[in-house]
């Protein structure tokens, strides 16, 4: 108490903060429809009643695919009640109500529960895989095309300046192009955060202007990538303006490439070092090629034919190596994701990739034509050679844009690699003699272990068995056990279940809330005695 002033301020604030506030969390008192209720027909309105006034963060109804349905109107608050009018009639099936509110003590409280129309809450029904909520797929993909193109051109422009000598004013064109696309990339990264956030919250168009959307976007894995990308893009803007600093150019290009390495299918597929190196090389090669089109096209028209030819020659000798790296890394990435050639035609991912490869082949034909037919003509100083070159390059640009667009859409379907992993996981379970379906795992915490078995680990009703052991593997009798379940991808949370003891060491849970497929977070709380809780956490894929 040597410095009384801060403590006086604290005291005043404590008193001030304490007086007007309610003294409890918000608690859901009742709901209509209620948890696990069977309705004969679609409700016109959903109702949640709390013990106190609440402020809604979100309130929505999801179908079995995790998609928001029912064309909801505005949330209405009335006393302690929160109402969600539905514009659409829900078809027969199982739905999840998901909500999050802020109670008077500013503590956010959320929960989720299932109800069904026209029958019981689905048990083991299969649903399509949880996809991104459809409203944001189109803007996300369009923005991704923009993002890929602008990053490629910005990175490529930096490489062009670093690796090639540019005669006369042609270097200035590369710098201007690089700067423009670095700015576009920065904007596109910012949009990616917003679209990503809106997608996570499954929100409407207005969500772009709410802070929660941006927070969610920044917090996602995509957020890290975008922040690195924005830093790289802004640095690149500066680097291109100065143009003479090689260090800045290298750094900004490296940051832009790095932003692609921290997220996505390609960078997270095992073996990570191989995938990441390949993605980096692939980006650098594609960027160098893509970014060269406009400056080379301009140079071939504006420069004297022999000089343009020499520039083209220097470019193609560098490009040969980079395009070699581009193709090799492309083959490696294809192998990592696709595994067998048959998958190129039989899976959605494979078919998209096949289209991409077809366009790449066409692009290579034009490139070869430029190198072996048009460049010698330019070097010989033939008339019209410059114009033919410019036309050929325009076609190449178009092909490249198509390739980038397909590359952007490759992030939508699940690659065969992941499909194979899923199948393998199933096979491994069959080998252990358990049911062919379901999840088995062992999680550890504080010197204890718990064996977790989820059957069938499909959407609908699941049985969860847990068995507690100590570090030596001996069975442990817990006084009680509870589960907390959440599906972060669909922001479902607050689902808890009390276990039924099956002495000596097992507990049994029936859970009907897991009706949406995805990576479910499960926390098993084992109570050694009433006062000592051991928390085990793990992820269970539910299909």
């Amino acid at each position: 108490m040597r410095r009384p002033l801060p403590w006086i301020v604290v005291l005043v604030l404590l008193l001030g903060a304490g007086i007007p506030r309610a003294e409890a969390h918000a608690v859901l008192m009742s709901a209509n429809p209620a948890a696990n209720q069977q309705l004969a027909e679609s409700p016109k309105e959903l109702e949640l009643q709390f013990n106190e006034n609440v402020g809604p963060v979100f309130f929505r109804v999801l179908d079995g695919a995790g998609k928001e349905v029912g064309a909801p109107g505005d949330i209405r608050l009335d006393g302690n009640g929160m109402f969600l009018p539905l514009g659409d009639t829900l078809t027969d099936g199982t739905y999840v109500i998901s909500y999050r509110v802020i109670s008077a003590d500013t503590h956010p409280v959320g929960g989720s529960f299932a109800f069904a129309i026209g029958g019981p809450v689905a048990a083991g029904a299969s649903h399509v895989a949880a996809s991104t909520s459809s409203a944001w797929v189109l803007p996300t993909v369009l923005n991704r095309v923009l993002l890929y193109s602008s990053v490629l051109i910005a990175v490529g422009s930096a490489l062009l300046l670093l690796l090639l000598e540019w005669p006369g004013t042609s270097g200035g064109r590369v710098r201007r192009q690089g700067r423009l696309f670095a700015i576009v990339a920065a904007v596109s990264f910012v949009l990616a955060i917003a679209f990503g956030g809106a997608d996570i919250l499954a929100a409407g168009a207005g969500a772009l202007f709410t802070p929660a959307t941006w927070v969610a976007g920044v917090k996602s894995t995509l957020g890290v990538s975008a922040l690195i990308g924005i830093a790289g893009a802004l640095l690149a803007v500066r680097a291109f303006r100065r143009g003479d600093s090689h260090g800045l150019l290298w750094t900004s290009a490296a940051l832009l490439v790095a932003s692609f390495l921290v997220t996505g299918h390609a960078a997270t597929a095992a073996p990570v070092w191989l995938a990441a190196t390949s993605v980096g090389l692939h980006l650098a090669g594609a960027g160098f090629w893509f970014a060269a089109f406009a400056p080379l096209s301009a140079a071939s028209r504006s420069l004297d034919a022999p000089e343009a030819g020499r520039l083209m020659d220097r470019f193609s000798s560098r490009a040969m190596r980079l395009i070699g790296a581009l193709l090799v890394s492309g083959v490696i990435l294809t192998w990592i994701q696709v595994r067998t050639p048959a998958n190129l035609l039989t899976t959605d991912y494979g078919r998209r990739l096949t289209w991409k490869l077809a366009f790449v082949a066409a692009l290579l034909v034009f490139a070869a034509f430029n190198k072996w037919r048009l460049t010698p003509k330019l070097l010989r100083g033939e008339a019209n050679a410059g114009r033919s070159m410019a036309r050929s390059i325009r076609i190449e640009t178009l092909l490249m844009v198509l390739i980038v667009a397909i590359a952007a859409s490759l992030t939508l379907p699940t690659p065969p690699r992941a499909l194979a992993d899923q199948a393998k996981a199933g096979a491994a379970q069959a080998m252990t003699g358990a049911a062919t379906d379901g999840f088995k795992g062992t999680w550890t915490a504080q010197g204890y272990a718990v064996d977790v078995e989820v059957t069938p680990a499909r959407t609908g009703e699941n049985m969860i068995m847990v068995r507690f052991r100590d570090a030596a593997g001996a069975p442990v009798t817990m006084t009680s056990a509870t589960l907390d379940l959440s599906l972060p991808a669909a922001s479902l949370e607050g689902i808890s279940s009390n276990g039924q003891a099956m002495p000596p060491d097992m507990f049994h849970f029936m859970v009907s809330e897991m009706i949406i497929p995805g990576e479910w977070r499960i926390r098993v709380n084992g109570f050694v005695d009433d006062f000592t809780k051991i928390e085990f956490e793990g992820t269970v894929p539910v299909r």
Partner: protein, 208 residues
């Protein structure tokens, strides 16, 4: 400027602590003098998910061997004892061989309503003479329907001297779903009652 910023920071953190603390079981004051016999009041601030509270259990930390509970006309009070590994001196030259492990308030004439009111549970404890330490009292509220267990401890020990202590304390109280009530033991800065444990003012310097 820097000072002002840190002041605002501490105040802000304290405000946030104050807000969220209402939602849990807490001690009326989170600070107590180390080494003293201190009157404590544990607040139960609400029921279990809308259900009235009919039993409160407090686990006394191991460092505390002497506890007495205030008489109460509403609740039936029980104490669970534990054997001490070795006897410790009690009041009046006696030796104690066992200590209170748990205080249980139950069978109320009128339970604590699920929301809108709080109730204090009073007991006194001889606090360990370790200024800067934080002692946790795990508590369980049993309700007509279900229970709330305020038994979570910080994932990493909290250090009062750490620069980001206020931040970590706030994180513990907000990110942990059911934090255990705690007392931060302070070096007594003001005169205290001369109950057992108090050392009294330092003796006057001897005269020559």
């Amino acid at each position: 400027m820097k000072k002002l910023m840190s002041l605002v920071g501490v105040a802000g953190a304290a405000m946030l602590i104050a807000q969220s603390a209402f939602a849990h079981n807490v001690f009326t004051s989170m600070y107590a003098p180390a080494g003293y016999v201190q009157d404590l009041e544990l607040r139960v601030t609400h029921g279990c998910k809308g259900s009235d509270v009919i039993q409160v259990r407090v686990r006394i930390p191991e460092e505390i061997t002497r506890v007495s509970v205030a008489h109460d006309r509403n609740w039936t009070i029980e104490m669970k004892m534990r054997k001490l590994p070795k006897p410790v001196p009690g009041e009046g030259g006696t030796m104690l061989t066992e200590a209170v492990e748990e205080i249980i308030w139950s069978k109320p004439k009128s339970p604590i309503p699920a929301s809108g009111f709080f109730e204090g549970f009073r007991f006194r404890a001889h606090l360990p003479n370790t200024p800067g330490a934080i002692v946790f009292f795990k508590t369980i509220n049993n309700c007509l329907n279900g229970d709330d267990r305020y038994i979570d401890l910080p994932k990493e020990p909290l250090d009062l001297k750490a620069a980001d202590f206020a931040k970590r304390l706030w994180a513990f109280m907000t990110a942990t779903p059911t934090p255990a009530p705690f007392l931060i033991l302070e070096k007594p800065a003001r005169p205290q009652y001369p109950w057992a444990g108090a050392e009294g003012p330092p003796p006057a310097a001897p005269k020559r």
